[in-house]
Amino acid sequence: MKTTTLLGSAALALLLGAGSALAQSAIRIGHLADYSGGTSDVGTPFGQAVADTFAWINKNGGINGTKVDIETVDYGYQVPRAVAQYKKWTGSDKVAAIMGWGTADTEALTGFVAQDKIPFLSGSYAGQLTDPTGEAGKSKAAPYNFFYGPSYSDALRAELTWAAEDWKAKGKSGAPKFVHMGANHPYPNSPKAAGEAIAKELGFEVLPPLVFALTPGDYSAQCLSLKSSGANYAYLGNTAASNISVIKACKTAGVDVQFLGNVWGMDENAAKTAGTAADGVVFPLRTPVVWGADVPGMKTVVDISKISDPSGNAYRPVHYIAGVCSAMYMKEALEWAAKNGGVTGENVRKAFYQKKGWVPTGMEGVCNPSTWTDKDHRGTLTVDLYRSRVSGSTDGDLSALMKSGAIKLEKVKTIELPRKPEWLGW
């Protein structure tokens, strides 16, 4: 009796010990996703990509042999929920890093992540997140905020650079007119100052901005103002659903303008919803290629995609590929940290500064080479501009539409922006 009790407790102690040892060995990271909230249209492919990539990493040996314990939480784009979840992750068993999502959670947590020293790789590309020291003086220091891709401001700078060339190439005379369109909200307003500043430099006439809400609605009035203003290039600052309303309304109103989309404002799904109205919209991508491109890295992306789609038939929109890139950078940062003093927030941050022109292994041709330094968190200044081409009806399955060519994304140009110090932080 006594022996069995002793043995039993010994076994229990061993089990507990083993359990805690296991718990310690897995690398904990948090993942905020929006599958159900206001940004779920683009949040779903991006979040799915992050979840798939880490599942794929675990299947293929983890981080130097250690599994990643990633907790994906759908916070529904609600600030209080993101904060509560963050507090759960930063309690006694701290996460090493967080894969974040949009403007809402990123802004609410900027102060906390700097205080708690937890790298936060967001899907928000606001310019103020690129200044880790605050020395640029445009905003407060954001030393633990990272993202993969050009900032919203840099994307618009690239679009306007292209627009100026486009104007000349078309042989038109006079100064082209540029207008910024979007809601009075941090997300559409984020690149506004940067866009209007470079537009002036490039010789555009900058018209007063046009406001339309973040939600879909009737924007005929805005389109009539757009028409009467005689704008040649219009930036659509909102997210897809609202942009589609404007594009459709403007097509009905017969507005002749080149729309410039934003990185979350146009993709294959949006083109499908907007139909032929989306034809010709120019928008920035974070990757040089789209799904199915013939580059070495696409094989890895296809492999990762099979995690949630074993059949391999699904068409993955541009946000999925960008999500894979983001997660792959985090993977290699975790690997470096594990080898150099342990996976802590501070080491993961340092890991991001280790390489120049960094492309994660296996992602060649898919992720743009990125360089982060402790003074400059603009990972990449390469902006790949694409144009959506919609010919004919867009009813039916997206993958079939992409295959038949009813919807096409054609590359316009790759703009390499100079790394100007005066552009840091806004």
Binding site: A84, K87, T103, E107, A108, N184, P186, S190, K192
Partner: protein
């Protein structure tokens, strides 16, 4: 409010007006209140960051909801722009502390005062409007203020979130939830005492008179314009205090997430807690803050479980979670139209009279 059972023992008569307006009707109730505060003060010793952040949220939103309860529950006016005042307080305190170098200790009450001024301005229509018309007028406040935040970059930072200094006192900076909790707790105690006291004064009674029958109140010589506007000022004051506490907790303030839906949430806190009940406000806020967390916990249990696999729910769980939150609030209002405060009173009366209640 109607139908409350008195807990004062039989034979215990009040012999003065002062005794009649005492905050705590019995010694036990006073002791319980003190014990509650002491217990709350001990919470950081045992609770994790997560729980502390929830308590802080309850405290911060509770103060703002208290202001709304003065307006809605005690004066019978409505405001669906409360979130905008909350945000105004947050931006003001952030502005004062980071741009004007006002110590945070003073910035918080100052933000409350400035927000109260703004509240007085937006309360002016209340002198003329009632009911739904007033609701629409306050809706305008919500949009005007939000638009102001979007344009006034010097004040709110525009698209860049405004930064607020961490709370410090006598040169010592409080960091982390466990320390900041005491700031919030202090403000909760002070705010709730202030409002409880307000309701015992001439002005407080005037507010209630305006609510119960504005015509009678006016005939009795109560200046309706003054008290209706004042009520807006008080509501905005507490919204501003709550917002300022929020700013120094988060360290950044962004106007993202403070739309009309947040204003409605404040209304929900007050209605669920109980209109015209001071303690009910805190209960209602706790309910609104904790319900999504409880549902998140439930959905985490459900995820990957037998039911999930059988029904193939996957990501739909989050939609179910949102639906469940809505359904619970509806059910709650059907069965508890008088709010949590009323139910709490009934529970107390039950145990007080046990086993002879009927």
């Amino acid at each position: 409010m109607a139908g409350t059972t008195s807990l004062i023992p039989a034979g215990d008569f009040r012999t003065s007006y002062a005794a009649d307006t005492t905050i705590f009707p019995t010694v036990t109730s006073r002791n319980f209140a003190i014990a509650g505060i002491v217990l709350a003060a001990c919470a950081p010793l045992i609770l994790s960051d997560y729980w502390m952040s929830l308590l802080i949220a309850i405290g911060i939103y509770g103060i703002a909801a208290l202001g709304l309860n003065v307006l809605l529950g005690f004066t019978g006016q409505i405001s669906i722009g409360h979130a905008a005042f909350f945000l105004f307080g947050a931006f003001t305190s952030a502005y004062l502390s980071s741009k004007m170098a006002v110590p945070t200790f003073f910035a918080i009450p100052l933000a409350g005062v400035v927000t109260a001024m703004v509240g007085l301005v937006f309360g002016l229509p209340a002198a003329r409007l009632k009911g739904l018309y007033l609701a629409i007028a306050t809706l305008a406040a919500q949009y005007i203020l939000l638009d102001f935040f979007a344009r006034a970059e010097w004040f709110s930072g525009g698209s860049v979130p405004a930064s607020a200094e961490p709370f410090s006192i006598f040169g010592y900076t409080l960091t982390g939830d466990h320390q900041y909790f005491y700031v919030v707790l202090a403000y909760v105690v002070i705010s709730f005492l202030l409002v409880t006291n307000l309701m015992r004064t001439r002005d407080g009674r005037a507010l209630i008179a305006v609510r119960d029958h504005y015509l009678s109140a006016e005939i009795m010589g109560i200046n309706l314009t003054k008290y209706r506007t004042l009520s807006f000022g008080i509501a905005a004051f507490f919204a501003g205090i709550g917002g300022a506490l929020y700013a120094h907790y988060q360290l950044v303030v962004s106007y993202e997430g403070f739309g009309i839906e947040r204003s409605i949430l404040f209304l929900a806190m007050v209605i669920i807690g109980g209109l015209g009940s001071i303690m009910g406000t805190l209960m209602g806020t706790a309910f609104v803050v904790l319900l999504p967390e409880a549902m998140e916990w439930l959905s985490a249990l459900l995820r990957g479980g037998v039911i999930d696999q059988a029904l193939g729910l996957k990501n739909n769980i989050t939609f179910l979670r949102e639906i469940a939150i809505g359904v619970i609030i509806i059910i709650f209002l059907v069965f508890e139209p008088d709010g949590l405060a009323h139910r709490w009173h009934q529970i107390k009366a039950y145990w007080k009279l046990y086993p002879f209640s009927h």
